[in-house]
Symmetry: C2
Subunit: 249 residues, 2 copies
């Protein structure tokens, strides 16, 4: 048996997220498993680094699969891409030790949220950013975001996961890095953490937008974080601005 790690890019616009579902939904995992079945003539389970929600994109999603094959990795890559729809692409295939696990082996994940902050929409970027034409105070956003970095209970930024409502996991995560930058009218918010709660990035971004807009006073982020109560934070930002950027093992 061999163990292969796939690195995957996708345009999440027309997917019901990563994970195969009982219903007849179009998912990234489902489409790749279909392609694997065509190539290897059997059902193969693909284990992702984690789920992404409906409409969320990825440049660096990772997953592993176990199979015995004589096919070299570059040929697996070409065969997969030849059998995948044009909104999914396998960027890399690498053989790993048998013990490698795409989900449990994760050290950190990085998500990028993109806000187009200029007076006009962008047709060319329309599926990959939130268009927000109002003035945002970047300096205040950066200042308020600082309290999020480190090991905290992020319950205030955790939505109830409909797929796992009673999972009862703790809400403590460690944000290693939170970078906010603006270039050519695009604000990017990069968050690297050892793990993310359900809709955590989008809840943080939604709150940062209200901070930048002046709807939340200085010091709000600290209070919201301490409250450990989702109703204290702002609405989640839309899925289309979010992209799973990188996974590190």
């Amino acid at each position: 048996m061999q163990n292969f790690r796939l690195t995957i890019e996708y345009d999440g616009t027309n997917f019901n997220g990563w994970q195969t579902q009982a219903q007849n939904c179009r998912t990234v995992q489902g489409e790749i498993q279909k392609a694997l079945k065509i190539i290897f003539k059997k059902n193969i389970t693909l284990i992702g680094s984690g789920r992404t929600d409906s409409g969320v994109h990825a440049l660096g999603q990772t997953a592993h699969l176990k199979i015995k094959t004589a096919m070299p990795t570059d040929e697996i890559l070409r065969a997969l891409n030849a059998n995948l729809p044009d909104d999914i692409s396998i960027i890399n295939v690498e053989e790993m030790p048998l013990k490698f696990h795409a989900q449990y082996g994760i050290k950190t994940k990085t998500y990028r949220y993109t806000i187009l902050n200029r007076p006009s929409r962008s047709p060319q970027q329309r599926n990959f950013c939130l268009f927000y034409p109002y003035k945002l105070n970047l300096k205040v956003m950066k200042e308020e975001a600082k309290v999020l970095v480190g090991k905290h209970n992020f319950k205030s930024f955790q939505s109830t996961d409909p797929a796992r409502p009673e999972r009862g996991e703790d809400s403590v995560r460690t944000i290693k890095r939170l970078d906010i930058k603006k270039k050519d009218g695009r604000i990017t918010i990069d968050i690297e953490a050892d793990g993310f709660l359900y809709k955590m990035v989008r809840s943080i971004v939604g709150t940062l937008i209200e901070v930048g807009r002046g709807k939340l006073a200085k010091g709000s982020m600290k209070k919201i974080l301490s409250a450990k109560d989702r109703s204290c934070a702002s609405p989640t930002a839309p899925a289309k601005g979010l992209c799973l950027w990188e996974t590190k093992y």
Copy 2:
């Protein structure tokens, strides 16, 4: 009467090019003229800096229109965007002297052609680049491209325009700048000129690809340029990699 210059971004994927046609085609000019009619309750002709072909994109197309209105420019911008489909956006509206003409006033135009030169497709960029997975020798491409810079007869890179087959214009143009760069697996070819012949950029790019691939020997570009014969150059590169980047007046 006032004269307004619009700067326009579009995703050309679902357009039959810029120019309104007799047939019932979806064009960028046609969609903007529809929006102008909704706002100003009359037919207004929009004069573009020039046509772009079916499937070609723009970040900096410009056009002018004449009308008498009390509406300030930022309100015209908002009203237009509110009445345009999401694959067109007006980036800027500026009042110009009455004599300003979007086509005749042009000093230079810049087009960018993007080639995704890596082993895998990119779902997120799929409508905005040519995917070309084979090795390209960038050094040779840059070297051969040098002969194109300057004032030349570009007949070898001119296709017959079906809309104006007997126009009989001369084929002399001046390329001011031709930059080839590669970053993160993307090759960009920027060409700035005082004007472009029909499918000129795409013919040049198609030929540069064959140069980079080693299908054309060293010195080929010079011979092709001198021949003044379209059949000497390579096939035109696909429309979707091309974007009208900037116009200068």
